[in-house]
Amino acid sequence: MSTELKNIALKDAPSSTDEFIKGLWRENPVFVQVIGMCPTLAVSNSAKNALAMGLATAFVLVMSNVLISSLRNFIPKQVRIATYILIIATFVTMVDYSIQAISVDLHKNLGAFISLIVVNCIILSRAEAFASKNTVGKSAIDGLGMGFGFVFALFCLGSVREILGNGSLFGFMIFPESFQEWIVMILPAGGFFTLAFWLLIFNHYKLKKAKS
């Protein structure tokens, strides 16, 4: 399937790259659209958790986008949302069991939040706004772009919180022993503060750009 995707990507290269970049940066789901907040804040207390959660979400996003766009002509309009949710829930169940098989520790860390990918607004909003109207190839690329945008955002949050709250990154200590950890950063409040801080930076650049 990957070669098929590549072919489609090559055929309409300019718009596909654009589609990909859009999710990654210009319409980044977390920083620009501010959706999908719950998992973003909840599991971003360490870089590893954040990355795992991001990848799981990205996988569900791509798979559900592909399936929904390939079925888009068969799904009756009235029950489309219910159908999307069913499709998404199926993929999430798959991811849930796979993660449990790969690493029990990771599964314990992420806890209920893997199941909660179902109600991540990003996935449903992409299904409704994009996959239901576009071809399979385009939807896959859109899912990939948005997915990586989400991974990127989670990583931004997770790494800052782990570095400041624990003095480490991916479990490796990067500060000397004498570093006093900012415990607040790994507590729930730290999640709010870190996201607010990133949004401030983004706002600052947006305002600067608008001025010039």
Partner: protein, 193 residues
């Protein structure tokens, strides 16, 4: 943990482990409809109501799925039942109070993708609560959600009159306030011991 009293479950769900401020569940409506006090209260009430019904249904579904030995269907059946309940509530509100229906707008159907409700169903299953424990847990979680929403709405109404720098306007200031609220709620953790 089996010996938790009902009172403790209530305090735990509403204050100590507040769904919004400690578990980050239901952040979307928390940021979206907390602009006005009145809408916030009504949204809180609607969510609490849906929570209670879906918690009860989730308890039934869990017992049934355990009986037929099909735990992998849990997530799918929960989400379908919750979506159906939300649809029902939406129809009732539309009939009873069109004004409220207008005020809640898009956030009413979005309750079905509200993580707080599915989260509640998953947590209660994980903790192995019985019927009454589930009921109290749902009421507590709903109260906690409403409390957070109302507090936020009150603060944001005050913010309208203050002179903010342009950079923090919008979501950023709301998140900063939420962070401070979350810090204050940590003070409740002493209640549990």
């Amino acid at each position: 943990m089996k010996e938790e009293s009902l009172w403790f479950i209530f305090i735990n769900a509403s204050l100590i482990n507040n769904f919004v401020l400690a578990y980050f569940l239901g952040i979307c409506p928390f940021l979206g409809v907390s602009g006005k006090m009145e809408t916030a209260t009504k949204m809180g009430a609607a969510v609490t109501f849906v929570m209670i019904i879906s918690s009860m249904s989730a308890f039934g579904i869990h017992s049934f799925l355990t009986a037929i030995n099909a735990p992998f269907l849990q997530l799918i059946s929960y989400i379908v039942v919750i979506a159906a309940i939300v649809q029902l509530v939406e129809m009732v509100i539309k009939k009873m109070s069109p004004v409220l229906f207008q005020a809640l707008g898009i956030f009413l159907p979005l309750i079905s993708t509200n993580c707080a409700i599915l989260g509640l169903a998953i947590f209660q299953t994980g903790k192995g609560y019985g019927f009454f424990e589930c009921l109290v847990f749902a009421i507590g979680a709903g109260t906690g959600f409403t409390l957070a929403l109302v507090l936020m709405a009150g603060l944001r109404e005050q913010l309208e009159f203050s002179d903010l720098p342009k950079v923090v306007k919008g979501t950023a200031i709301t998140l900063l306030i939420a962070g401070i609220l979350s810090l204050t709620f940590m003070g409740f953790s002493g209640l549990g011991s």
